[in-house]
Point group: C2
């Protein structure tokens, strides 16, 4: 027997809103395995950490014996979900849809359990493929134009003077009816899908079924601090990113997002999450160390503790290789103007001129952070300017 | 070879607008039999003279060898055309639809020729019955929400705060696609169908066909002078009305509509039509005679010259029976008050009292238009009052 409240509390960490929370409590307490709708469009998938928030919530429910029904919207994809799109989307071929579906399943299995006890794959062509025009129009009788146009995305399009094709207006209706057809108890979605899934509740009620519970998940900002992770902005961490890429992208995170990411994308205790947030707020090496812990926790979640350890070591190795050391030799340079080559000769008196020219040609030389490749370029470094020549050679200039 | 312009000129008598007149001229001149879309909803029909305007235009084209394709919207009727309705219409059962279709065909055959050379019956379930959901939604991609909501009827509903269900919004799209599916060259409709039939042109063009010509017909006021004939206002002449009813209803027409009705509902020469209009404007017996000619022409059109002659004769018989004659005997009555019976004794001195009482009991006596049945009722007729006693006996009272 499940303790329903404990489950809800666990989900709450990444829950934004719950429509039908009392129903959820009752259903969880009933001990019956719930059918969790996970509906996707069969467009080319690239799931990122943001999507995975929902997947992890479903995974937690799977671990309690509930069943995820992975609904491939193969028919609706032929229409094109207008969500978040300012322009009408071109239709996809059936072949492309099947390829995308396979890729989707592969990515989803990085988080969800796919054993048949707790996972089921369905396609909405199962019901729409056999449905005739009159029946579909009968479904259409259950919703009004005004109800559909209340969707914020449609309103935004109208406000922008853009058109909404009738097939796009129909999309939420189909997505809503899906919930009835597949007997959904619960669905976990991003808030941009709340409207469509509430239509699901509407259809279930109109057609005499219990309405599904709708949980919307927390949406986190993108790596760049923008409103959310998105493919087009390339500010996201893909589930299929290598441990190296995940780690590196998280190290580039703005300090102020460390706490949010740690809460939403890891299972670190909330006390630890708060501590990471405080450290990140200090900045400098403290913030860097907080990010290291965040990055390690995320990599652990997807690739295991061994992978996280390897990435930590690799980071430290590269960091000590590449970063400007805290102290470095100072070299005094006379007041006369000089060329790049003459500057290098002053700093590295033991190297041959051809060796120094080679370093320049390779782009291994920078003065005050500016790369130099022309040996004859005039340079006038101020006192304190840092000159790097080669991977690990640093000097600070003093003017005489 | 048809003289295209002559045909167009003939149709113009009852044409309001033509969309694609140049195309119509070209197609008529080609000598190819045109396919004329006559699309109807399979609701309970009661065709009236207003509908028949379109039928007569089609009949004229049939007489030139063109083919009327009588399209029963059996599938779309299951949705319900929202035209002119402020409320969503309930769906009809398939059985009721078939009964209505049979009744429709029967009424249509009162005007149209139904021999297979120039008449063909189709049902839009032929294409929608076999169509799958994805294909329908593909059609929906060709129209936008804004395009549909431009329809004045939908705008009026919104303005009135009423709802438009999505299946109703879909209706014009289906009616439009019908034109493509049945290869319509031309359709003749009321102006309330112009929007839907222009969507037909839109679909034909989008799908690579020649767009149909759309002729809208003149709409005439109802018998009561209201904007049009309508079943709910009971101000119409049904095609199935008897010759007697048609004749009688036309005799009740307001004088100012005589010319319009004669132009639109008869084939009287336009000179005659104008003359009838002038006579009607005079009022009195001239207007009555104009209506007699109009009524006879309409009855002739639907029931033949014999029926019209019979109705004229019947009318004159009844008229001479019932109408107050222009001259009648005057009878001088003394100044004292008197009873109804005493008044009758003064007017009809040769009849017995029991005979006069019988007339009163039968309701055959009226004084100044007021029926009297009580022999002892007090009457005080003013000078000039007309007293009728029995079917054909009239007197005018003079007071001494």
């Amino acid at each position: 027997m499940t303790d329903a409240q404990a489950v809800i509390d666990r989900l709450r960490r990444t829950t934004d809103t719950v429509v039908g929370e009392a129903d959820l409590r009752t259903r969880l307490a009933s001990g019956r395995p719930l059918r969790i709708k996970y509906g996707v469009d069969c467009t080319a998938p690239e799931l990122h950490l943001g999507h995975a928030v929902n997947l992890w919530m479903m995974r937690a429910l799977q671990d309690l014996g509930h069943r995820v029904v992975f609904l491939l919207g193969d028919l609706t994809t032929r229409i094109g979900d207008p969500t978040g799109r300012s322009e009408t989307r071109p239709a996809l071929s059936p072949e492309q849809i099947e390829l995308n579906a396979a890729a989707f399943l592969e990515q989803v299995s990085l988080v969800l359990r796919t054993d048949p006890d707790v996972f089921e794959v369905r396609r909405n062509s199962e019901w729409y493929g056999a449905m005739d025009v009159a029946t579909l129009l009968g479904l259409f009788a259950h919703v009004t134009q005004a109800q559909l146009m209340a969707r914020d995305m449609f309103r935004a399009r109208v406000a922008a003077g853009r058109e909404i094709a009738l097939h796009e207006l129909s999309y939420p209706v189909l997505q809503g009816y899906d919930s009835f057809a597949m007997r959904s108890d619960l669905t976990v979605v991003g808030s941009d899908q709340l409207f469509n899934e509430q239509l699901g509740r509407h259809f279930q009620q109109r057609l005499g079924a219990e309405p599904q519970v709708v949980i919307t998940s927390t949406i986190t900002p993108g790596l760049d601090g923008g409103p959310k992770q998105s493919k087009s902005l390339n500010n996201y961490i893909a589930l299929t990113d290598s441990p190296r890429d995940k780690f590196g992208k998280l190290m580039s995170l703005p300090d102020e997002l460390v706490e949010t990411y740690a809460r939403v994308y890891t299972e670190l205790p909330l006390g630890t999450v708060a501590a990471l947030g405080s450290s990140a707020a200090v900045g400098g090496p403290a913030a860097r160390d907080a990010k290291l812990k965040l990055a390690a926790a995320v990599v652990t979640r997807y690739h295991g503790a061994g992978a996280a350890k390897a990435e930590l070591e690799a980071f430290h190795r590269v960091f000590s290789d590449r970063a400007q050391p805290d102290d470095m030799p100072e070299v005094v340079i006379g007041p006369a103007p000089l060329t790049a080559l003459e500057l290098l000769e002053a700093l590295r008196p033991r190297d041959s001129r051809s060796e120094l020219r080679r370093l320049l040609r390779q782009g291994a030389v920078s003065v005050g952070g500016v790369k130099l490749t022309d040996a004859e370029a005039r340079v006038e470094p101020a006192g304190g300017t840092v000159v790097r020549s080669g991977k690990r050679t640093w000097h600070r200039v003093r003017r005489a």
